[in-house]
């Protein structure tokens, strides 16, 4: 899937994650992650985001994620929503 527009999904509320995506034509995946549980779960969150991008076949994207303690299902859902809004 090609990201053609900037888009966002999610909220900054507790247990949610705010995702902002923008095109990065030919530049691969750039991921900027902020989380209130960065030390404990940073790697895991990154992995969930990357797996979701892989599943949706997104290869070039700039993705900013501001996590407020979201569980994996919320991370997957918000990334998917942002991508679908961006294509």
């Amino acid at each position: 899937m090609n990201i053609v527009n900037p888009a966002k999904a999610g909220t900054m509320e507790s247990s949610d994650i705010y995702i902002i995506v923008s095109p990065n034509e030919g530049g691969g995946i750039i991921l900027d992650l902020e989380s209130i549980v960065m030390k404990q779960f940073g790697k895991q969150i990154e992995e969930v985001i990357l797996k979701t991008l892989y599943r949706l076949n997104v290869k070039d994207i700039h993705l900013v994620a501001k996590d407020r303690g979201a569980l994996d299902y919320t991370i997957r859902a918000r990334v998917e929503a942002a991508i679908k809004r961006a294509i």
Partner: protein, 290 residues
């Protein structure tokens, strides 16, 4: 009635923290809401979130019902197409008409066939909240054998009727009676409208008792605090359970002696009393009270 459905708790579909707690709040059913609780700009995001929640979370046996958007809108059809893939127990059809129920049923049949799901495993729960829906409730129920219950939506119904909604609820006496009787005739559940003033405890108890006295079998809740009170009122009392057990025991004794009619505590027991006792015990069993 194959499971208790005393409470159906509304959970906003775009709220992760509420969705992930939905299964531990003690309601018999949860209604994950994609309609009124979600703003028009977030319909897509809420649908994806609810889908992922059903797929990933443990609801600990709580019945999962998803309230979808009106089928007259694009959102409603997309809701069915996406949500059916994760097999919720039921879909709640908003402002239901016979046509909506038929349309939802046909779409579900196609999805179940394509995905290899058990046919008719996803049920339907029409929401009656218009004068048209109320006057055609029997036809709405008969439009699909997936229909397992009816929810009365009194706020929208009274708006449609252009009448005032009050805490006493006299204005919905007819709607409750009509839905309760029709659902009973069709052997499905009749779920009462939620009581929206969570700070009026006394009014809330009166409202549940009124609904129960008219034959409603359960009540929707909009706050987890309402669950225990609804369960207490809708559950058969200890006295009712004891009396029902006595009736069944006396019936079994009478049968073994070849008696058709018998008496208990000096009163004649006939078929309606036995049926009532059986219903009380069935409800008590479903609620885990016996």
């Amino acid at each position: 009635m194959d499971r208790p459905r005393r409470t159906m708790l509304f959970i906003p579909g775009n709220n992760p923290s509420m969705l992930q707690n939905a299964g531990i709040l003690g309601a018999d059913s949860v209604i994950l809401d994609l309609e009124d609780a979600v703003s028009i700009t977030e319909k897509d995001s809420a649908r994806i979130l609810v889908k992922n929640a059903i797929e990933a979370l443990d609801f600990y046996g709580t019945e999962i019902v998803v309230r979808i958007n009106p089928l007259s809108s694009d959102f409603g059809i997309k809701d069915i197409e996406e949500i059916a893939l994760v097999e919720p127990d039921a879909l709640m059809v908003t402002k239901a008409t016979e046509e909506d129920v038929r349309k939802a049923c046909e779409l579900l049949t196609k999805i179940e066939e394509k995905e290899g799901f058990i046919p008719k495993s996803i049920k339907l729960f029409p929401l009656i909240e218009t004068a048209y829906g109320l006057e055609n409730v029997k036809e709405i129920i008969k439009a699909s054998d997936r229909v397992i219950g009816i929810l009365l939506g009194a706020e929208d119904l009274t708006a449609d009727l252009e009448i005032r909604r009050t805490a006493e609820g006299k204005e919905i006496f007819y709607a409750r009676s009509k839905i309760a009787v029709t659902c009973k005739a069709c052997k499905i559940d009749a779920i009462d409208t939620p009581f929206t003033d969570i700070n009026d405890g006394e009014g809330f108890i009166k409202d549940i008792n009124t609904a129960k006295s008219l034959g409603m079998t359960g009540k929707a809740a909009i706050n987890p605090r309402q669950i225990d009170t609804i369960h207490e009122i809708f559950a058969p009392s200890k006295e009712e359970i004891r009396y029902a057990k006595d009736v069944i025991k006396a019936m079994e004794e009478a049968q073994s002696q070849g008696k058709g009619v018998f008496s208990l505590n000096g009163k004649m027991v006939d078929a309606p009393i036995i049926t009532r006792a059986e219903n009380v015990l069935k409800k008590a069993r479903l609620a885990g009270l016996v």
